[in-house]
Amino acid sequence: MRSYAAQRAGLAIVQLAVLSVLVFVLTSLLPGDAADLRFTETLTPSQVAALRAELGLDQPPVERFVHWLGNVLTGDLGTSLISGGPVVDIVRHSIGATLVLTLATLAIVVPLAVALGIVMGTRENGRVDRAITSITLALSAIPDFVIAVVLVAVFSLKLGWLPATWIGGNLLSSPALLILPIAVLFGRTVCLLSRQVRAGTVAALNAEYVTQARRLGIPRRQLLLRHVLPNAAVPGVQELARTGDTLLGGVLVVEAIFAIPGFATALVDGVETRDIPTVQGLTLVLAVAALLINLGADLVCNRLVPRTALLR
């Protein structure tokens, strides 16, 4: 177990290092640089050149990367080429909204998906199972942006029930801001998760140990909660860790449509404005988060069903 953890940590460090180089190379390959982006119709070419020198963009890429890496190792994510402020500020300002959004979504999705998954799994191929499967499948088949466009048109613009953007709003005073974004993110996540929980439930119910427990007279409720659930939850938890990436894609669409100043928007903005330190910083945070989530998922799975995570 300890050597496994060490191996995981080692891999994570290598992953982060390779990722940093990769992100740097990728963003450096983009046409134009941050100085070009700051170009306005009134800035003279000499002003732009001076700006480039000021941002350090006239240095060779390797030197810039080494400089950046040196800073990161001392805990400094660097300075944004666009705002001139520390990247940490950008991370701090953008992460909150996204975190609230995803956590709120998960807070609704996870219990629901577990419940649905178990209901479906215990009634495998029955009418209820098929009905829920069809509904979640249908929900998950509608692209996020289509749901978003339609929901906004109906509930905000036509009916005026719910706010359509986060602009001018405050989460604390109007939690209703969360309703539509969550509704958009909800469908696919519930589908993916509940299907995994269902599969886990079916597998556990068909497993010999559950059959045996039933044959030894353990009542159904107890059987489901104590014998089936821990095993059934494992694929769900693993899926949850995997969902991160897809969820982020959905979050970007949601952030764009509801004008939520979040993480995904900041990342794409960073790419668009060639703000390499910001992109680097955001990606690093994201990668660390992804690694932690995966590690967490493994630990949870291992807690639920020992050795499953290690055997994977």
Binding site: Q212, R214, R215, G217, I218, P306
Partner: protein, 515 residues
């Protein structure tokens, strides 16, 4: 004595199909009742009816009375069924190790069952010979070895303090020494007043334990309290002398590269044309690795293998003729067939690829060989998933035989066969021997090996501990292991009852089912 279980005219139907038809039997406290029959004969269906359990779409009929309560009545399973599960009737599945929930500490489940059935986990743990200390009870199933898991499963069922214990094929995959031990343990359990229902096709086991026997075939009782006699295995005796056909010298094999995890130590063997070399040993003694080295499948070995005094390389370097001359029959048969192709075609490929026969001729030969082994042509034309384990085992043999091999390595090829199937297989092998084929017969059952082989080699922990003619080995065993193997041959042989004191378990020896 009044029976704890009384089954009268039990029937099980799935739509039009009749699975079990008019089966009646009784289980008496302190005695062992055996349901005997090939797989698919309705043993399990009948036994599960005791719990009021049945597969989807199956309708039970007749009467099952357990401990005075009616579990199955003419209109199906009664409400009483739930209350007798565990508490009155406990069931041990075929692979008890996989009946443990990987997510739960063993102690937790034991406590849960004890609470549910007013049982005593401590006592059950002791009876099942599981260490009862706190740290053991806190462990998860994966932290136990295969044999220990089996005991934990037994402890679980005993915690329920049942009156009847149903054991489904308990000897599957056990080597003969462990099987002997099982006999003793089951006897002890029965002696405590437990009624045992034994489902098995292992007639030796049944002979050794059961006081009542019900023989099932295709869902019907065909005999009661009468067992077919133990087959008289004719000892083929010695065969012609001559030059060794296959020789292995100084053979050591390891599981991991660069000689780590050695499983076979400096083994020497030789077999002549028309002779049979028997290899015995417990599970995990290195028998299969030895066979796979000879077949060329296991490449991590040192030492020399000669065929007709020519070095025999590993499989991928063998010529077509060398390929043909040495064939191997799998122990794990189901996994060795492609799920998507009919069995007969897969068998026929050997003759096509190794003997250059035309497809139709190869197929005809395959069908003929299979038929000789008791696998009908229509059965063989199906995909492997539709064949029983015994049928597949014979198909695997046919697949190798179609090469007309000079050396045939048979790795536990009769484990899934009933006596009739075994006889057919032995018959074919005898004929092959007469034609000059050298056999290497691997098994754990010394009785069978001794009957087939001209010379027996005993393996223990990867070393050859003893070898000689079967008569010498069985009558004057030198090594402790050999002695125990000899003792184990007496299971089910009323003329020579087994030794009174059960041998102590040295290793966990049950092979776990793959996957």
């Amino acid at each position: 004595m009044t029976p704890v279980v009384r089954v009268t005219g039990l029937s099980a139907t799935a739509g039009e199909a009749v699975l079990v038809d008019g089966v009646s039997f009784e289980v008496v406290a302190g005695e062992v009742t055996a349901l005997v029959g090939a797989s698919g004969s309705g043993k399990t269906t009948s036994a599960l009816a005791l719990l009021g359990e049945h597969a989807d779409g199956v309708q039970l009929g007749g009467y099952v009375e357990v401990d005075g309560q009616l579990v199955v009545a003419s209109n199906g399973v009664t409400a009483a069924a739930q209350s007798i599960r565990g508490r009155v009737v406990a069931y041990m599945p075929q692979h008890p190790g996989s009946a443990l929930n990987p997510a739960r500490r063993i102690g937790t489940t034991l406590q849960e069952l004890a609470k549910l059935h007013d049982g005593d986990a401590r006592e059950a743990v002791r009876a099942a010979q599981v260490p009862g200390d706190r740290s053991t009870l806190k462990r998860f199933p994966y932290q136990f070895s295969g044999g220990q898991r089996q005991r934990v499963a037994l402890a679980q069922t005993l915690t329920c303090r049942p009156k009847v214990l149903v054991l489904d094929e308990p000897s599957t995959g056990l080597d003969s020494i462990t099987r002997l031990q099982l006999v003793h343990e089951l006897r002890d359990l029965a002696a405590t007043g437990l009624g045992i229902l034994l489902l098995s096709h292992d007639l030796d086991l049944v002979r050794a334990l059961a006081s009542r026997v019900v023989v099932l075939d295709a869902g019907q009782v065909i005999a009661t309290d009468v067992l077919p006699p133990a087959p008289d295995l004719k000892v083929t005796g010695t065969s012609a002398a001559g030059q060794p056909l296959l020789t292995a010298m100084n053979l050591s094999a390891s599981l991991r590269p660069r000689g780590r995890d050695v499983v076979l130590h400096e083994a020497d063997l030789a077999v002549r044309a028309g002779a049979c070399l028997g290899v015995v040993g417990r599970s995990g003694s290195g028998k299969t690795t030895l066979a796979r080295c000879l077949a060329g499948l296991h490449e991590r070995y040192t030492g020399t293998i000669l065929l007709d005094d020519e070095p025999l390389p590993v499989l991928r370097k063998r010529t077509r003729d060398q390929h043909r001359r040495v064939q191997y029959v799998w122990q794990e048969v189901r996994g060795s067939f492609d799920e998507r192709r009919p069995v007969d075609q897969q068998v026929a490929r050997t003759a096509q690829r190794l003997r250059g026969l035309a497809p139709d001729k190869a197929h005809a030969e395959a069908v003929a060989t299979l038929a000789r082994l008791g696998v009908a042509a229509i059965t063989a034309a199906r995909p492997p998933s539709r064949l029983s384990g015994g049928e597949l085992q014979r198909a695997a043999l046919a697949r190798a035989v179609l090469a007309n091999p000079d050396v045939l390595i048979c790795d536990e090829i009769t484990t899934a066969l009933d006596d009739h199937g075994t006889a057919l297989v032995l018959d074919l092998l005898t004929e092959l021997k007469d034609r000059g084929t050298a056999l290497i017969w691997i098994g754990h059952d010394l009785r069978l090996v001794a009957a087939v082989a001209d010379r027996v080699l005993v393996l223990d922990a990867g070393r050859v501990v003893e070898q000689g003619p079967p008569a010498t080995i069985t009558t004057e065993p030198h090594h402790e292991l050999t002695r125990r193997l000899v003792a184990a041959t007496r299971i089910g042989n009323p003329q020579s009852p087994p030794a009174e004191t059960p041998p102590v378990l040295t290793t966990d020896s049950r092979s776990e089912p793959r996957r």
